[in-house]
Symmetry: C2
Subunit: 358 residues, 2 copies
């Protein structure tokens, strides 16, 4: 399939961001694809068998194209001393909360098994985060008819992904909710605002770009199209839709007005969430140790979900979360975006038009 | 003058960001205004008499409208213990460098005297940063025929500025070079990406918006116009123009590729600059103490400028600095932006256009 081929098939240039860990469901992916956008299955934190089952569930609900997102394994570069200190800290907090913690271990999140599922199931798109898959993986997926997108957060990452053979780039601005898709978790890497990043990336590659980060309405989407993107990817906008699997405590926090910030507190990798108790107490102490810290806090977060407690949970959200729709079908969001994109693009005329005609 | 009146007179919707401390010059302001944009005098760190002289110099060079930017005094909220520790640290570094330091004192940067200059000289626009002037100040300027713009970095600041009577809002995204214009320097306040911030601000006010932060080309400017801005404000794009007063060491750093980050190292207030030796060594220790720290480091920075040493100087730059023009007249930048804005706006058609016609 030609690069950008899937984007040409969309009635609305809107991609539903994969949201691993609960919010993404087959019903959400199918609803977005049916509404004219591109739905996504989030393969992160799932077994390969569960991913295959989710793909089957999406296919049962729609014949439209959709994508699957996979995390590229990070090398195990955690500082053992810093990690041990944080494990101790989180264990104390969990003990006080009466909840268990998990083993702070590295894993590759079933990388090879998930690649095998992608090759066998052939979704329209496979997108990747946390790094660039090796060229041979991209080639193997291409031969299977799967278009490969790579998430980038710096112009240098865009160059590397293009050189590896990517067919499209998800350009993720610092505004985005949840994990930074950066190739490296080093401080300061990949914290560029979306519009700036988009313009810098167009200077290093002609690949189709999917703009992501803090977009909440069609005027914002129209803006990134004017700035050179072929589509926009939105996650937070779908977090409180009826098809999403977002926990109740997370949904209620989305109706509040607290600030978001980047933190390693929950996972050991920078991610943007709404500030809550756990983040405020622990963010300054969390080392760069992914997925170790994610595994460490997983049972604690599960307990918080069960208790409907927003203070102990990762409340991932982008910087525009206060502007999202609540409690509506995902199709309503896609339709609103389409209307607003049209209105925004119709409003502008070139400067050379007669004054006052715009 | 009606709100937004000045913006209606611009041939190109581009405002030159005021860049206090050297880069802004009367020649730069006049060149941008002559080219069809809006030039700005930066009143910060200058005496009121020097500001009046700069205004006269701009008027001698152009009859087009221009603006003057003034810093709103911050309350003296510095933590004395933290400040004393940082003074000690910077004095040691300066001693090793063989350069003096200044007294870490608070000042109001001649606030009342500068307001009197604005009322007497009546530039087309007075813009403010670091807070919102009191309603009576805005009213007094309005009566003098001066349009008042306030720099905002959060929707809440936009609401406050609108309530105080501002005629326009400079919406500053986190991508912007130099100081954050936030009303408060508290950690995490006002660090929103430009496109997200713009969309959130349009939800709370109908005032004309001037978008600022990380814009480097006409496609980016076109994008913010589509997203609801009336104009774009660019500073870094003019930093290496022939009319700018940017020191040589700063100009050469602009040709490099180092990352930018927010730091309080040089001034005691968050500002974005290219990472260099002084920033890397001291950023983590700098307290929120403005303008105390600015006064402390001023003689050291002057020495570095003299020695043409980019490692001891504040290298303010926005996140798109690698994309700027070098060593060209400011008019060349304005003309390029105008062409690119036109091209970007002409490229897009509404989604409802027949497929393939865009």
């Amino acid at each position: 399939m030609a690069a950008g081929g899937v984007l040409d098939q969309l009635r609305v240039p809107v991609v539903q961001a994969p949201m691993a860990g609960g919010p993404s469901t087959p019903a959400l992916a199918a609803a977005v694809s049916e509404a004219g956008g591109l739905g996504f299955v989030a393969a992160g934190y799932r077994t390969a068998a569960a991913v295959a089952a989710e793909i089957a569930a999406v296919r049962a609900a729609t014949s439209r194209p959709f994508g699957v997102n996979v995390f590229v394994p990070s090398p195990d570069g955690a500082d053992r001393g810093l990690l041990a200190g944080y494990v101790e800290r989180v264990r104390r907090e969990a003990a006080g909360y009466g909840a268990p913690t998990g083993e702070a271990a590295w894993s590759d999140d079933a990388w090879e098994e998930k690649l095998a599922v992608l090759v066998a199931e052939r979704p329209a798109v496979a997108s990747f985060a946390f790094g660039c898959p090796p060229p041979e993986v991209i080639e193997r997926l291409g031969e299977a008819g799967v278009e490969v997108w790579v998430t980038v957060t710096e112009p240098q990452e865009a160059e590397r992904a293009a050189a590896a053979g990517a067919g499209g780039l998800v350009v993720q601005g610092v505004e985005a909710g949840a994990h930074r898709g950066t190739f490296s978790d080093a401080d300061g890497v990949g914290e560029v605002g979306l519009l700036t990043l988009l313009r810098l990336v167009t200077r290093v590659t002609a690949l189709p770009l999917i703009a992501s980060g803090g977009l909440c309405d069609g005027a914002g989407v129209a803006a990134v199209l004017v700035a050179g993107a072929r589509a926009a990817q939105l996650g937070t906008a779908f977090l409180d839709t009826v098809e999403a699997g977002t926990p109740a405590a997370h949904r209620s926090a989305l109706r509040g007005g607290r600030r978001t910030m980047l933190t390693r507190a929950f996972s050991g990798r920078r991610a943007r969430g709404i500030v809550n108790g756990f983040l405020a107490r622990n963010g300054a102490f969390a080392p760069s140790a992914y997925p170790h810290v994610n595994a460490l806090t997983a049972p604690l977060r599960a307990a918080a979900r069960e208790r409907n407690d927003p203070e102990m949970l990762n409340l991932w959200a982008g910087q525009a979360y206060t502007a999202i729709d609540h409690d509506v079908p995902a199709a309503t969001v896609v339709e609103r975006l389409a209307r607003e994109i049209d209105a925004a693009l119709a409003r502008r005329e070139p400067l050379s038009a007669p004054p006052g005609s715009a």
